[in-house]
Amino acid sequence: MGAPVITMDVRRIGDEVAVVDIKGEVTAACEPVLMSAYEAASDGKTSRLVLNFAGLEYMNSGGIGMLVTLLVRANRQRQQLAAYGLSDHYREIFELTRLDEAITIYDSEESALNGVAR
């Protein structure tokens, strides 16, 4: 299995919100990277997690499966999951797989942060 072509940086917005900037290819191979980012983002009192897909270059069905697993972990910790920065193509994939019913999609970081703050 080749090394994943992805980086995920975590930014904290206050105590309760963390943004994960995803850059590169979301496939099953990047699961350890996503889970470490999740661990870093879940430090402390994080109750809302925002995934920034603006740097997403490629995603396959393995990547979608991994997001479902992330969703399960977040639900278990009673954390709210949101996303922004998806291109029309990836937004359509979220809708097709009906992942958008569990991960709220926003158009921008500002609207995502406002949305999860409610």
């Binding site: 099953a28 699961e31 991994m66 479902v68 291109s87 809708e95």
Partner: protein, 304 residues
């Protein structure tokens, strides 16, 4: 069978299943660049419009968005319980969430692309006896809907279908509609591991409703494991593997049931298939009677 402890059974961060378990195909990332659809004209005119991005290089591998499934009648299957149904992923399912992996080493002589091409081309032929998969004539392509008749015992065939969610040279993914036994998807993939090629079927699913969940708990999982193992052994034989062996790994990703989705039972294709089986002779009798009546009328018209 190797039973792997899932996130629910093991404490701490390491409880997350490995990439291989979650992974549906790591090599998909290295797949050849898909032909890109033309860039939207407004993107060329106004590149500063950040919201308009070109589609990803995986665009050709994904199905286009559908709200409800549409099907054409297919030879040899009943073809019910699919048209008008929505797709269901693990988010929409009811039961515990499972991740299952069936893996088989097919040796060094077969390339991953060759294994997947054979699997796609002959997919229905590998299914165990008594079950039928009626796909599109063109094979397995993103957006195709295949109709299924599955043997569930008592002479009843469960009629349902699957949707081709994703397909490239080294993998393809099928997603289930409302009423199917499970809500989720299954990915068939092949990749190089060292010198050998390993083919796999990886399932991420929840039982769709409480009845299916009961069925899965009492023998359904075992039956499913046997089904996919038999399918892969048949593929192995086709690929010329002398003694194909399938390794099964099962992980419970979420032990919670989603009671808010218990209403999925309304679409249960097993229940509907039982009624459709019972109703079939009555329906055909009705058709025969109508036909006879029509003939009688024509005969009396002819006589006058």
């Amino acid at each position: 069978m190797t039973e792997t402890a899932g996130p629910d059974q093991v404490a701490g961060p390491e409880r997350v299943a490995s990439a291989e378990q979650i992974g549906l195909s790591a090599r998909e990332a290295a797949a050849p660049v898909a032909p890109q659809p033309a860039v939207a004209p407004q993107a060329a005119v106004a590149p500063q419009a950040a919201a308009v991005k070109s589609p990803g290089r995986d665009a050709a591998s994904w199905a286009r968005k559908v709200e409800r499934l549409e099907v054409d009648p297919r030879e040899g299957v009943r073809g019910t319980n699919v048209a008008g149904r929505r797709l269901t992923g693990p988010v929409q399912g009811f039961g515990k969430m499972w991740q299952k992996s069936y893996r088989m080493n097919v040796g060094s002589k077969i390339e991953p692309e060759q294994a997947i091409a054979t699997w796609k081309e002959h997919f229905p032929e590998f299914w165990p006896k008594g079950n039928r998969f009626a796909g599109a004539l063109t094979g397995i392509n993103p957006g195709d809907v295949a109709l299924l008749d599955l043997a569930i015992g008592g002479g009843v065939k469960l009629s349902t279908g699957v949707f081709v969610l994703y397909a490239d040279a080294e993998s393809f993914t099928l997603m289930t509609p409302q009423g199917h036994m499970f809500a989720g998807w299954i990915t068939f993939a092949a990749e190089r591991e060292g010198d050998d090629t390993v083919v796999s079927a990886q399932v991420l699913m929840r039982a769709n409703d409480p009845i299916y969940e009961l069925g899965m708990t009492f023998g359904g999982h075992k039956k499913e494991d046997k089904f996919w193992a038999a399918t892969m052994v048949a593929l192995g034989h086709r690929l010329g593997v002398p003694d194909p062996k399938v390794a099964t790994t099962t992980t419970c990703v979420d032990s919670k049931r989603q009671w808010r989705n218990a209403g999925n039972i309304w679409h249960n294709s097993a229940i509907r298939s039982v009624f459709q089986t019972i109703a079939a002779p009555v329906k055909s009798l009705g058709r025969m009677l109508r036909h006879d009546k029509g003939d009688g009328k024509q005969a009396s018209k002819g006589a006058t």
